[in-house]
């Protein structure tokens, strides 16, 4: 049994995949000698050498293009985009090329690659280094979208992402890199598309992802201790594929749903989930599905501004009380 940070679980997960399969290599900016700007890839170059751990120029299109081309031949690249915000400069490769080539080629080409990227706010980096962009990739057919909320999920989901025959975007949350967990076994696999229950409860279903799942869990503990409300917290773990069955089961149990999203309001993933719930579980609902999101603004930088923009534990607690007690 060892304590592992989310950060350390990233490099361990990559290393485990690379040990198991010679076809796996890793490419990104400042990832090798420097160990990554978040120090999430320390030790990989030393273990695997320059041929499998490639320090690339600041060329996001070229990095993802090279990863895509290599994947087309059957290799299994893991490519890093330093901050998810930088996906915007290589979005053509992601959205037009990687996502669509299998379909357009009528299945002639598989693209088994993983794009890992540091996502989300909390670091006071301002609007171009803090975004939560899971919903950008969720809306494009052909991409799988994973966002782990804890070290064991990083280990288990990375294993599956690397083995997956389809392209996976793996959103690591910057504010979770220091998150610690006791881990018994590190070489684990968690299927992509299975949500995880972080807290049991029958009064309301709170659905979150990554940092928001952890905040929802904290909120659930407070709701139970101080307000006698038992909330079920579902950590989706992946948006595509989405575990609709787990959501449905819980909605049937509780009849109340709150989604907690870090992205700005419009077209956030919670809107799609809300629509699915009204389509599939309308009769089980005791009230409208509601959403907590970052307001529809670019993320500001100052402590007080950022802290009041991204959904907090208190906000989640208050929203739940408002929903259930009308306060």
């Amino acid at each position: 049994m060892a304590q592992l940070t989310y950060r350390a679980s990233v490099s361990l997960a990559i290393a485990q995949s690379m040990r198991k399969d010679q076809k796996v290599f890793f490419i990104g900016e400042d990832v090798g000698a420097a160990g990554g700007v978040f120090k999430a890839t320390v030790g990989l170059l030393e273990e695997f050498g320059k041929e499998r751990v490639m320090d690339a120029p600041i060329s996001e299109q070229a990095i993802l293009g090279a990863a895509m081309g290599a994947a087309m031949t059957g290799l299994r690249p893991i490519a890093e985009i330093m901050f998810s915000d930088f996906l915007a400069v290589c979005w053509d490769i992601v959205a037009n090329q990687i996502a669509k080539t299998r379909y357009m080629s009528d299945g002639q080409i598989n693209i088994p690659l993983v794009i890992r990227t540091a996502n989300g706010g909390g670091s006071k980096f301002g609007a171009q280094h803090s975004q939560s962009l899971e919903n950008w990739s969720m809306m494009i057919p052909g991409l799988k979208v994973v966002a782990p909320s804890c070290p064991s999920d990083v280990l288990g989901l990375m294993d599956s992402a690397v083995k997956d025959p389809d392209p996976v975007i793996f959103y690591e949350h910057k504010s979770l890199y220091a998150f610690k967990e006791e881990i018994e076994q590190t070489d684990i696999s968690i299927p992509i598309g299975e949500a995880n229950t972080l807290h049991e409860g029958k009064d309301i279903t709170i659905i979150g992802l990554a940092l928001m799942a952890q905040r929802a869990k904290e909120a659930a503990l407070i709701l139970k201790d101080k307000h006698d409300i038992n909330a079920k917290v579902i950590d989706l773990r992946s948006l595509v594929p989405l575990d609709l069955q787990t959501i449905k089961k819980s909605v049937i149990d509780t009849g109340h749903v709150l989604t907690v999203e870090e992205n700005p309001r419009l077209c956030g993933w919670g809107a799609e989930i809300s629509s699915l719930i009204s389509e599939h579980c309308f009769k089980n609902l005791k009230g409208p599905v509601t959403r907590v999101t970052t307001p529809h603004v670019p993320l500001p930088s100052a402590d007080i501004l950022e802290d009041n923009t991204i959904p907090s534990v208190e906000l989640i607690v208050n929203e739940v009380i408002k929903k259930l007690k009308g306060e």
Binding site: Q61, A62, M72, T73
Partner: protein, 334 residues
């Protein structure tokens, strides 16, 4: 006069090249006819006039090598040995099409032949071609990757990112700029800082400046073979700028009126790669009967393939929902 005794190419290869170029020409012409009959919908970008480039590489490459081309890619696809009905069928949206109608004219793909796709967003495929080249290096195999693109493509960032990466990692790749003097409708010199849009940038990536007459099939073949050997021998990437001209407009919708009449006339009459190559074959004393037999054979192939494509059924509607994912389907939730 030609020096038959010091001929580095030889009759056999020349006839191969002749047959190849002719096939590309006649299929494109057929595609144009089928458009006029409204049997091909959507858009299409013909490479009429540019056959010597695709043809030369088609002859020079080996099975297992990878090629990447643009939306102007019918010729490049055929040049790797893809079937004519596969190409025409795709243009017509038939089941016999290379991708059963799911990709269309701009995305011809035939992995078995090394045709790793045709790409319609300018620049992207230069970066992707680096990836197959990287894989060859990683696996220590000796395939070569070749990436074709237009003059206009030299002004997008991906071109520059890709060349730099290919050079620093010494990738087995050949970049081929088909400079047909125009991007879509704008002359390339009006929007480019240098005279030779690709070749003048080569130095920035420590590559040789290579400019070739892309309508001279023999020269094109020599240049292609040299660059391919260099890549195969582990000596790194090349960037070739091949000067050429498209006989038709940019795409189906374009009559090409922005080009001066004399310019078009000069390229059509004096610099047509096919016309000139036929004359060259005769100069080399190749029997005209052999040349004509090849012509007849190709005409026949194109007609037969057209019949096959026209008789092929249209795709089933359920195809819409296949092959988004590797499991064959399109479901995104359980």
């Amino acid at each position: 006069m030609v020096d038959k005794l010091n001929d580095d190419i030889g009759e056999e290869k020349r006839l191969q090249l002749w047959e190849m170029m002719l096939k590309l020409r006649l299929v494109e012409k057929k595609a144009y006819d089928l458009f006029l009959q409204n049997l091909i919908k959507g858009t299409s970008h013909l490479a009429l006039g540019q056959e010597a480039i695709a043809g030369a590489f088609g002859v020079a490459l080996k099975q297992g090598d990878y090629t990447f081309c643009t939306y102007r890619g019918h010729a490049h696809t055929l040049a790797r040995g893809s079937s004519i009905e596969g190409v025409l069928g795709e243009l017509m949206g038939r089941q016999c099409g290379l991708m059963k109608g799911k990709g269309g004219s701009m995305h011809l793909t035939d992995v078995d032949k090394g045709v790793m796709g045709s790409y319609a967003i300018i620049g992207a495929h230069l970066t992707i071609a680096n990836g197959t080249a990287l894989a060859s290096k990683y696996n220590k195999t000796n395939e070569v990757s070749v990436c074709f693109f237009g003059d206009g493509t030299t002004n997008i960032g991906a071109f520059h990112e890709a060349l730099n990466m290919a050079k620093i990692w010494n990738l087995p790749i050949v970049f081929v700029c088909e400079n047909n003097l125009y991007m879509e409708y704008t002359p390339i010199h009006e929007v480019t800082a240098v005279e030779h849009p690709a070749a003048d940038r080569a130095g920035a990536y420590d590559l040789d400046k290579i400019i070739v007459d892309g309508n001279d099939a023999d020269e094109m073949l020599r240049t292609a073979e040299k660059a391919i050997s260099k890549a195969r021998d582990g000596k790194g990437p090349s960037l070739i700028e091949a000067k050429t001209y498209r006989h038709s407009g940019h795409s189906r919708a374009d009559p090409g009126k922005y080009r001066p009449d004399e310019e078009v006339k000069d390229w059509m009459e004096n610099k047509d790669p096919i016309k000139n190559y036929r004359a060259k074959l005769l100069d080399f004393n190749i029997n005209e009967k052999i040349i004509s037999e090849i012509e007849e054979k190709i005409k026949d192939q194109v007609e037969k393939a057209t019949e096959i494509s026209m008789a092929s059924p249209i795709p089933e509607i359920k195809e819409i929902y296949t092959d988004v994912w590797a499991n064959g389907g399109s479901e995104w939730h359980n």
